[in-house]
Symmetry: C2
Subunit: 452 residues, 2 copies
Amino acid sequence: MLGMFQSLGLGGQWRLPGNTSVDFLNLDHWVTMAKRLDEAGIDFLFFADDYAYPILNGAVIDTAIEKAIQFPRADPLVILSALALATTNLGLVATSSTTIERPQSLARRFATLDHLTQGRFGWNVVTGAGQNSSAKLFGDTMLPHAERYAIAEDHLNLSLKLWEGSWQDDALQVDRVNGVYADASKVHEIEHNGPYFSAHGMLTVPPSPQRTPLLFQAGTSSTGRELAATYAEAVFLASEPELVKAQIADVRARAAAHGRGPDAIKFLVAGSFIVAETEAEAHALRDTMVGFGTLETAAAAYAFFTGLDLLSMDLDKPLATVKTEQGRTNVERFSGENGAPAPTVREILEEFRSNGVMGRPFIGTPEQAVDQAQLLIEQTGADGFLVQPDPTGTHDDFIDMVVPVLRERGLMNTDHAGSTLRERLFGVGHRRLPAEHPGAAFRVPSGPSVDS
Amino acid sequence: MLGMFQSLGLGGQWRLPGNTSVDFLNLDHWVTMAKRLDEAGIDFLFFADDYAYPILNGAVIDTAIEKAIQFPRADPLVILSALALATTNLGLVATSSTTIERPQSLARRFATLDHLTQGRFGWNVVTGAGQNSSAKLFGDTMLPHAERYAIAEDHLNLSLKLWEGSWQDDALQVDRVNGVYADASKVHEIEHNGPYFSAHGMLTVPPSPQRTPLLFQAGTSSTGRELAATYAEAVFLASEPELVKAQIADVRARAAAHGRGPDAIKFLVAGSFIVAETEAEAHALRDTMVGFGTLETAAAAYAFFTGLDLLSMDLDKPLATVKTEQGRTNVERFSGENGAPAPTVREILEEFRSNGVMGRPFIGTPEQAVDQAQLLIEQTGADGFLVQPDPTGTHDDFIDMVVPVLRERGLMNTDHAGSTLRERLFGVGHRRLPAEHPGAAFRVPSGPSVDS
């Protein structure tokens, strides 16, 4: 299972000649990319998103603006219909925050997108990520981690009610002769009185192919894993193999405790591919890429994810365990949790400069890279990859060099012409949430009118 | 000046054979329409929007669901990039409410859309319209009219700061060799501490062609006219000629008092065209259309706009002046304000059934309809029309029959290839807000760095 990771912003390798991510505000840039992914048989294109940018002590970090670190960024939701128009099978996934967006707006927007994409839309649920610059932008104070997750749960319950509970399956008539658009007894105003959101009203959009978009989630904290185990249908992970394996086992166990089946959730690991005709060329390319980074750019990126100012610390000592505003002490793989000795701050910055937040790349010839990727799948039990942009900023290298190897080895998802994104991940017939998902409880059974 | 009015919902004439508005959730429906409008030289496509639907006594009106009265409705913002991809010159305008949407989200979304449309995007500013069903959907109580407008002003000021004040004109560098994406001393976090919104942060989207989207407004109350006079660049009116004329004069006078020029605002009147080869055919078509309506459907639509339940009143007496929750007593043209004797409730419903909220159509042969439309322009001093969907649900009749007559008479806007929407309305060179607009005050002058 292969999704491609992008954001509507600049790629980390924008300085490389031929990197086209500087065109990220040009529609043709994305249309060309989406068409290629669609033709190559990629399952979906995934847009990360965040209102945040790197700040320290309440102000933007100049290096982030100058070097384009987690900045600039535009809104990916409004580009999706153009990509839907240009493609036929590619899934389209976008990130929206339950802390920032209102569920009633988002439910209508996503129902519209599920129609316009003909059921190819997915939502990556985030709680506002780990930065307080977005909170400041919105005139809020950063909410504690646990509260953000409580909001997310309330948000999801209201959104699911609107998607699943407003229209019975047989409500829509579109009968011109008798002048009946819909059976009024089968369209319902829902009621919600949650701890954070209240609503009395209905989704004014007729049922879309999937009703609820395919639900992605990426939280790796204990609270995040619990949210994923309850609601997510696909989980995105980025860490060392042993940690990924443990996280998958943990989410699976939690999902089972909620009565969800062992295959209710697909797990996708971050994968960066740096490939060339020879191993030496691939490493030379990587050296060029790493060479663009400095301790300052690494620190700006690190500050974005954690709120920590590593450059203000003693570079030659291990990172003290600091509880940041975001409730995050550190980027996971430097926490020593995986049994390795705690690295120094300088080592953390060097590692971050080399491999970023997504970790070590699969590197070498296409065959070598695929060998490494296959090994990771075996080690972790993951279902596939969320592939990072390659050095071009697009996925052209991946399509041209890696996909043929995957195809030879029978590792590409087979054709799913005309199917929804949920069917693409879970098989034909799985257009809607399964009965075990909490969203299914909000459905009003179809059949005879409830009022009659 | 010609804009075409649509909503992402069902047209009033969906029951007519050949009306294609039932396809409103199909991307191809809109792409086909937008392409035809673009080729015909229409200035822009305008999407009305509202989260509301007709309710009375706190519950949805069954007739509204059954007959599709101001229902169903989907989110037009997410369809625009597909239409931008399919067209080259057509302006694209969408409605968003300052009461419901957060300025920080909306500013980023609209900046993205202005890029994706290459400067062809406009925003119709509404304050949440006159219905309390949207307030109930969002778990709020309906705010008083004056407060909604105070929120709108605060919202606009924050949005304008983000668009105009975040990036100096010469901030963007995109210098790969030296690794400078933007000059950090020329990208600014803005500060806003308004009565309703606070913010400390910046727009993470580089400057779009227009920066601020072209600003539309449609309020006709005194408060609404004041907001339009302060901020709007195009105003949409729907009323009797004498009222339209008076409203235009009033908004122009108010705009002048704000130091804005006499041509700072374009005025567009609602125009419905029912045309056929012969006058008799056009009237027969209209009779069929009016025949789909009943007192009940007229009352549901009336309730949507005013909150009043006309069917609960004595049909044979004039409408008592009732101050509704929305602060609206009546649909304007029935208020007796224009000097006519106050009609009975039944007469109001009959008139509403025949002509809806947009008023009497221009009807007959294309030449006759254009004569009527030209007369209205002469009577009111308006700059053009916001044309309602024709009986097809699209604008195919208008394009096929009315546009050729307009062209013959030299009334079509001439070619503006490659221009922004603001230039299309105000002439080449007017890409950005003029210096007299309040948004211009938020700019940081370009030139030497402010920090140096």
